[in-house]
Symmetry: C2
């Protein structure tokens, strides 16, 4: 059995926390390596100067990192607002619609397969402590986890920066050569290698077979670049 997937709980929780940053880096870098790479490849087939490719690439990196970073930040803020308003609602309902909440709690225990006797007893015990009851309803009735208030900002920065770092990899060859075709050749080699290495570590992290995972990540990049190259050629002609 794969040791990586063994679920020792303490270990798992620790693993999850330390991987919040990694998860953000993966999100940002996977798009950062792919989209600017494909855009630059697409333009290489359609323009004569690397200058245009560099300008377009830099503009894309700015646009993409802000869309992902700022988008992620605002989504995180919304999640917090949503959690707070649902929390207030649950407290309100526990106080004022107690009967309905009791029914909903019993329903949960019924769904997981407890007998009616235990449904009643378990509900009674949980409902004794209001805070505990509300926490239970938030997590298991609504499926909401308490969001970390500082996550949104940190996450936005991590994702945005990773996009920039990822995007500079495929773009950098075009800084140093004059011919788009030569830039493309180096960019393809460097980026596919990076995508493979990145995909390997990403797969290791998420417990997927790493060679297959690495191949998949590289494939997405290659297909996107080929498609961008194709349509750009089409529109140029």
């Amino acid at each position: 059995m794969d040791a990586h997937l063994h679920h020792d709980h303490d270990h798992k929780e620790e693993h999850l926390k330390s991987s919040d940053v990694l998860r953000d880096v993966v999100i940002g870098m996977s798009d950062g390596l792919t989209v600017p790479f494909a855009l630059a490849a697409g333009l290489s087939g359609a323009v004569d100067s690397t200058n245009i490719i560099v300008i377009a690439g830099i503009a894309e990196i700015a646009a993409g990192s802000i869309a992902m970073g700022l988008g992620g930040y605002l989504a995180g803020k919304t999640e917090q607002d949503h959690y707070s308003s649902e929390l207030k609602r649950e407290y309100y309902e526990v106080d004022n619609l107690r009967h309905r909440e009791i029914e909903e709690t019993k329903e949960f225990f019924k769904n997981i397969g407890l007998s009616e006797d235990l449904q009643n007893k378990a509900t009674e015990e949980i409902a004794k402590d209001k805070k505990q009851w509300v926490e239970f309803m938030m997590k298991y009735e609504l499926g909401l986890e308490k969001p970390d208030p500082r996550r949104a900002t940190k996450s936005a920065l991590n994702i945005g920066l990773s996009y920039v770092v990822g995007g500079l990899v495929p773009l950098s060859p075009y800084f140093f050569v004059d011919s788009p075709t030569e830039g493309l050749r180096i960019s393809v080699a460097v980026t596919l290698l990076c995508l493979f290495v990145f995909g390997w570590f990403k797969s290791k992290m998420t417990g997927i077979q790493p060679w297959w995972g690495a191949l998949k990540v590289m494939l997405i990049g290659a297909v996107a670049a080929a498609a961008a190259f194709g349509v750009a050629k089409l529109f140029e002609g």
Copy 2:
């Protein structure tokens, strides 16, 4: 109290299912409207012909839609594989490490606040039916929901197509005019309007205050476009 957030369960579940497609459309369109818009805006400040902008924009749309669509498809497949392998593992553990699984189930009931007596009784009842027990462990110990096998493909198509549709909005003005500055002016007007309308519906759908939500979505687009314009100018000079 906001009628929209009232949680009537049947209604809610139906709402969630019908909004799977909408959610995909929102994901694809939000990036599709923003990134190609910002890229085209960035290039408008740095190049003389709308031709380059159209080619770069089309290449970006191809790259972005494939990265998002294919990426989403493979992520969905991975989620399914992960679910299947965890399901097998749970069945194995229930058969061969019964004692440990009993402890983990008791732990769950302890964490939600049941007395030791009820922890034991509830665990005993759940463990009677193996299928029911495994389903319980999958959902509440591991937090995994059974993924719909056809979701991955559908989701990829919806996201990819929405990206293309979204991306053609900011790009279309450049098809019809020769001056990048004029194209930019029309593109800004059309796209900010679309972002606002799109943000309004998106917020309505997710239960956020719609005017504020619309403003936020429009703001992300505007900031991304301004930044792309700024860095493109910088690198052109």
